[in-house]
Amino acid sequence: MAKLNSLRLSLLWVICIFVSELHAEIIHEERSLYRDITVRQENNVRCMLFNIHRFERNQSCVNIRDQQTLHFTYSKMSLAGLMLVPNPSRMLVVGGGGGSIPMALSDLFPNARIDVVEIDEAVTRVAEDFFYFEETDNMKMHVEDGRLFVKRAGFRGEQYDYILLDAFFGDYMPEHMLTREFLTEVKGLMHENSVLVANTFSRSQFYHHESVTYQEVFGEFYNFKLPGPSNRIIIAMIRPLLGEEALKERAEFLAEEVRKYGVPIMDYPQYLSREIDWDTSRRSLTDQYSPGNLLRDN
């Protein structure tokens, strides 16, 4: 009986996929310097895809009936750093994409100044036209390479309370933004109470090299992974990390505010691990040695 049920379920699943494929509609296509961008809508979910012919996954999605809820688990996870800086006044988001995370941050902290950096002008245009991204007096979009923005901000002596690195998805990682030197430049934009949140990969050889690199620059950091397949989020600070109890207290304080974005922040503290689960003997990534894409495929 159970077998029959699961058969029915999987049949239903197949039909669902089939039907939803029928409903998927391409509403916009655009070529940029870097990639082909496709906007596809399926029922109420609208997604930005890169290089669709190579079966790329969705880069950014929004539910057009409920624009506030963050679509991806990793996007929700990237708000976890708020447990460590309860009231950020300056924020930097490297990798704009569809803009859903910066929009949520700007909505949460309307008085905070937010810099969003995106290398691809076409992506910023699509974010504005199809993903409800809007610049405000306090939130500015900069079309620039993330590393250059960070380096120039460092020369100007800028400091941020919350830094989110989210430029690492898609089929190719920018290798100059994986290195010890880059992270040191990012650290230069941080003060004692700032937090860095980086959306990264959790699989392949690359995981070890990347972890060793973050460890060299920041020492101990939170390695945030949820059960099941997901990205991992690195959360690093300059001052010592908080324990689980302290995090829970902060989560409780935030839970109500972040609920409208679909962020189950109360579930997070137990998964902010400080355990070293990588091979510490691996080489760190530097400007001299940064074969991130080769390591990821090995």
């Binding site: 310097l33 870097y34 290398i119 620039e144 390479d145 993330g146 590393r147 250059l148 380096k151 020369f155 920018p174 290798e175 100059h176 933004m177 290195t179 030197e181 880059f182 530097t286 400007d287 001299q288 040695y289 940064s290 074969p291 080769l294 390591l295």
Partner: protein, 205 residues
Amino acid sequence: MTKPIPPSLVASMAFVSGFCIMVVEMLGARILSPYFGGSLYVWGSIITIFMLSLATGYLYGGKLSAKNPSARSYATFFFLSAIFILPIILLANSIMEPIFVAIEDERYGSLLATIMLFFIPITLMGMISPYSVRLLVVNTEQSGQVAGSLYFVSTLGSALGTLGTSFYFVLWLEIDQILWAVFFALALAGFLILAISGIQSREDG
């Protein structure tokens, strides 16, 4: 010709120079990226300047080959190329940082940095090709065939240099270690030319 050079040696040298040019070109984008990013502009600057450097090298290498081509001048191109690899290893950051500070637009910043770092060594390596042709051409009927075979080996070298660098060398070694290898390969090539042509001329004499 003062000293004869065996054709197989000239062919090997053409291979080495083709190989080294592409190793340096593939590393160029990585060298520039901390200051000028990973945008398409950086590759645009690199390919443009490498093409211009090679064009200049072909022109002057051809001109120099017209009078008294010798193993010694041939070897000199390799020694000079090796020497001008050194600033890329030793001075890259101190050359790029002031350019990064002075020029906001990364298109022109990367263009200038590429000229400063690569124009001289790549021009020198470009001079090797026409000079190699001159060393091997004996009569006009064969000239096309000689040029063809030399283009063949040097472009084969370029293809392998590209593949080796992008698939393997950057996975095994640091950028500067690869550049040191290029330095030693070019210097060794220069010494080999002098040594082998020296032996040959003594035998002939």
